[in-house]
């Protein structure tokens, strides 16, 4: 196991450089120029001044030199400064990441919490009227665009003419710092309720369908028939034998959803006024703020690589039939 993990970790290094090099090239080759953008309306004679600035910031060097410099700095954990406002990239990411993580981990947790039992239930009760009804509802949810749901929820549950149960914007109320720890948690939960709901509802259909499929397959397998044949109670068959064995694909899926945790969602963040990683990535791409684009990409790339590894290891952990040492 240890050797396998090490080998996989080493393989991640070229993959990582491949990802960052590609992002670097795509970002730089896209039309538009960060300095021109911030100078906005140029005046005659300003071109020379901008050229001087471009030179000073190394933006006039060949791409491979710029990439080399970037790698050199990143290896010493210096992600540079935003071309937009001069703040360190890590500071901007450090501001956005916790907000995004709060939303996405809650949403992920919640969607698994709902989808796994729901999928198992759907498999056991398949083709009943109730199961079909739930499937329809889930697919309706799945097909509703999140910006529309987010705005609708805001109008109905937070709007001036709606019920105004939830706050409209942000993560905390004014005066948050003075609250007791319990009140802080309550305040946060109250603020994230709607955004987390929006992030959760869409993935329910996918996850529960996976779970249902896995469960159905398990229920059809020989060991379940054996378990039933030896007279085990149906409860025990479903919960102790079938459910646990159906979790394998779900665990693999978990690994694949992890990168989305740090990526965030532009739509949800913008509508609910919680500027996280999605908004940061979106804005930096629009502004051609290369250092920030690269910082965000690197983080997401690292997370993706780690998550793939983790999901392989986890799959082995839940399924004793998989032996990574020999298979690898």
């Amino acid at each position: 196991m240890g050797r396998y993990v090490l080998r996989r970790a080493l393989l991640m290094i070229p993959t990582f450089f491949g990802i960052t090099l590609l992002t670097f090239a795509v970002a730089q080759l896209a039309p538009g120029d960060p300095l021109q953008l911030s100078a906005e309306a140029p005046r005659a004679g300003q071109t020379a001044a901008l050229e001087a600035l471009r030179h000073q910031r190394g933006l006039d060097r060949p791409l491979w030199v710029q990439y080399g410099r970037w790698v050199g700095r990143v290896l010493s954990l210096d992600f540079g400064r935003s071309l937009e406002d001069g703040r360190p990239v890590l500071e901007k990411v450090g501001e956005a990441l916790p907000r995004t993580l709060l939303l996405t981990t809650l949403a992920l947790f919640l969607s698994y919490l709902i989808a796994v039992p729901l999928g198992a239930w759907a498999a056991v009760r398949r083709d009943t009227f109730a199961e079909r009804a739930v499937t329809v509802v889930l697919f309706v949810l799945y097909s509703m665009p999140s910006f529309w749901v987010a705005i609708t929820l805001l109008l109905v549950l937070s709007g001036g003419r709606g019920w105004a149960v939830f706050p409209l914007q942000g993560l905390t109320s004014p005066g948050f710092d003075q609250l007791s720890p319990a009140a802080k948690v309550a305040d946060l939960l109250w603020h994230v309720a709607l955004p987390v709901a929006v992030l959760t509802y869409g993935s329910l259909a996918v996850l529960s369908r996976y779970m249902r499929g896995a469960m159905l397959e398990t229920l059809r397998s020989d060991f379940i028939r054996t378990a039933r044949a030896k007279g085990l109670a149906e409860r025990s068959v479903v919960f102790r034998h079938a459910l646990r064995n159906s979790l394998i694909p779900i665990v693999t899926l978990l690994g694949l959803t992890l990168p989305a945790l740090v990526g965030g969602s532009v739509i949800v963040e913008r509508i609910f006024g919680i500027p996280g990683m999605g908004e940061l990535a979106f804005e930096s791409i629009l502004n051609r703020d290369y250092p920030v684009v690269m910082g965000v990409t690197t983080l997401v790339a690292l997370f993706t690589l780690a998550a793939t590894l983790l999901s392989d290891v986890l799959t082995a952990a839940v399924d004793p039939r998989i032996d990574l040492e020999r298979a690898g």
């Binding site: 239930w121 509802v137 001036g160 706050p167 005066g175 109250w190």
Partner: protein
């Protein structure tokens, strides 16, 4: 797991249909007192300025965009509106625009007590105010003004925008701590005004080092009636009253600028009473609130509505270096193929009257004979006249395919628009339809803002639409229309006309006001005659203020926040959780 979900869903459905039913069956309130005429006009009643100012309270203002930084010297601090509204009350300038003299907006002393301009107009001497201290406790003197000018002139610093503004600056010296003498390369009527009203005065010590990483970029230090308190990224920027201000002290204790980018969300917060001053109301919301029905009553009852004309207009421009757009007949024909009335009502909801003038419309620079809405000199929507002009210019449909052509080339053009513009997204299909009927094929190309600006600069377009806006009433328009500004200036449309060049140069050096106004009106007439731009609407600020806010006086450079006071200053809304709407 299933039942709660189904329950939530049905609950929503019932509630929603319940609402509509209630609405339909509820008996109409027999007499709803509709909004007043002032309210409809967006005019503030005189009572706003009356009464004895009360001290205290927190004023919450909606901010629709988050500035990148708060240092106006830096190229990234050029989001003029946001930076000026927030930083204006914190970091002062040598002079300010005097709102008592609107619409002329003369200079009024701030950090400069008085100033003299030499007879040859090439030297300005500022005499600075004594006894002023910065928020960090340092005394203000000429060394600070010098440090700011040094930073602007340093070619290694990202201050290209300010350097461009002070292009005519030849040199400066500080003979004593209370005097700054500025020399100009040429006598330019705008130079002193721009230096005095735009350049923010920071303490010299705050400008030491790399401008990219200065503390004042995010936490400005100045001499103003408010001091900067904090900036929570994406959430709010807060100012507190400067208790040791040298001038008349501000009334409110604290100003909170709440950053809410999304218009729909901001509207909901507005309805829930989250803002004392709601800014940038979306036009459809503005119009929607006028309907006389009970659910709008809160707006008429609790808010003043404020519509104030800005120095801002939208225009359509053609790349005149590309045929056939260099032909004035073609431009005039296209101008007559714009259904102005339909656009004014349908797209701008009657809030942006069509203009003819590139200058500040409330000032004297526009020729009233042309700018008047009923002026006979204005081009109107007139397809027949337009078609005749196109025929005369040689663009006829010779092959009978419904599209005009000339020398075997069909009349095809591409309208380059940036993806984030809602209004252009509506305008493009209207023009497509109109122009197709006149035998012109209009294609639309949407690009993002970064690409758009690059295409503008490199003149890689046929047709664009943009808006210009300024926070001052005076402008010489040199940069927009002079032929020298085609190469790397803002003469994006590549208009070259020696006659206009001569006028633009003359205006800059003309210090006599009456003669300058005469020149400006000549420029207005020429630009309109040649349809250098096809002018669209003139923009207004659409705001609303709670009736508890007093001292509101909109001007070209926004409200003066130090003058505002609150009726019943609420104690700091701290430590209250659920009661507050955010």
């Amino acid at each position: 797991m299933v039942r709660p979900l189904a329950f939530v869903l049905t609950a929503c459905v019932v509630a929603a249909s319940g609402c509509t039913c209630a609405e339909k069956t509820a008996p109409q309130t027999p007499t709803i007192q509709g909004p007043s005429q002032d309210w409809l006009d967006g005019a503030l009643p005189p009572s706003v300025m009356e009464g004895t100012p009360k001290q205290g309270g927190t004023l919450t203002i909606r901010l629709q965009a988050e500035p990148k930084m708060l240092n106006r010297l830096h190229d990234a601090g050029q989001d003029a509106w946001a930076v000026r509204t927030i930083v204006g009350p914190v970091v002062e300038t040598l002079c300010e625009l005097d709102r008592d003299t609107a619409p002329r907006y003369r200079l009024k002393p701030v950090l400069a007590e008085r100033w003299e301009i030499s007879a040859d107009r090439r030297t300005t001497t500022f005499h600075l105010r004594h006894g002023v201290t910065f928020h960090d406790g340092q005394p203000f003197s000429a060394k600070d003004v010098k440090a700011v000018l040094d930073a602007i002139r340093d070619p290694k610093q990202p201050t290209t925008r300010m350097r461009g503004l002070l292009a005519e600056l030849d040199g400066y010296e500080t003979p004593d701590p209370w005097t700054v003498v500025v020399h100009w390369k040429r006598p330019d009527f705008l130079a002193t005004r721009q230096l005095a009203t735009v350049i923010p005065i920071f303490p010299a010590s705050a400008l030491e080092g790399d401008l990219d990483t200065l503390a004042i970029n995010r936490a400005p230090v100045g001499t103003g009636p408010f001091r900067f308190d904090k900036w929570e990224s994406g959430r709010a920027i807060e100012l507190v009253r400067n208790e040791t201000y040298w001038g008349k002290k501000a009334h409110v204790d604290r100003i909170v600028f709440r950053i809410v980018k999304d218009g729909t969300v901001a509207t909901q917060m507005f309805e829930r009473g989250a803002f004392d001053l709601m800014t940038a109301i979306p036009p459809h919301v503005w119009r929607g609130l006028e309907a006389v029905k009970a659910e709008n009553a809160w707006a008429w009852r609790d808010y003043h509505r404020i519509r104030f004309p800005e120095n801002a207009y939208n225009w359509i421009g053609f790349n005149q270096a590309r045929p056939p757009f260099g032909d004035v007949r073609v431009r005039r024909a296209l101008a007559q193929l714009i259904p102005y009335d339909a656009i004014e009502e349908g797209i701008y909801l009657g809030l942006e009257p069509i203009t003819t003038c590139p200058f500040y419309a409330l000032g004297p620079a526009c020729d009233p004979g042309l700018e008047a809405p009923d002026s006979p000199q204005r081009l109107r929507y007139d397809p027949e006249d337009a078609k005749a002009l196109l025929d005369a210019a040689g663009w006829k449909d010779t092959d009978g395919d419904g599209v005009r052509d000339h020398d075997g080339r069909p009349f095809d053009l591409t309208f380059l628009i940036y993806a984030s513009s809602v209004n252009l997204g509506k305008l493009a299909p209207v023009l497509q339809d109109e122009w197709r009927k006149a035998g012109i094929r209009l294609h639309v190309e949407k690009v993002d803002w970064a690409v758009f600006t690059e295409r503008l600069r490199t003149h890689a377009f046929d047709m664009v639409s943009l808006g210009w806006s300024a926070l001052d009433a005076e402008d010489d328009l040199y940069f927009n229309f002079h032929s020298s500004q085609v190469k790397d200036g803002t003469n994006y449309v590549s208009y070259v006309n020696p006659e206009l060049d001569r006028l633009l140069e003359a205006v800059r050096g003309e210090h006599d006001e009456q003669r300058r106004i005469a020149l400006e009106r000549q420029i207005h007439r020429l630009v309109y005659r040649d349809q250098v731009y096809l002018f669209l609407g003139r923009r207004s600020a659409l705001d609303a203020a709670k009736k508890t806010v007093h001292g509101l006086r909109p001007a070209i450079n926004w409200y003066r926040l130090a003058d505002l006071w609150l009726d019943a200053p609420a104690p700091h809304a701290e430590a209250t959780t659920r009661a507050t709407p955010d």
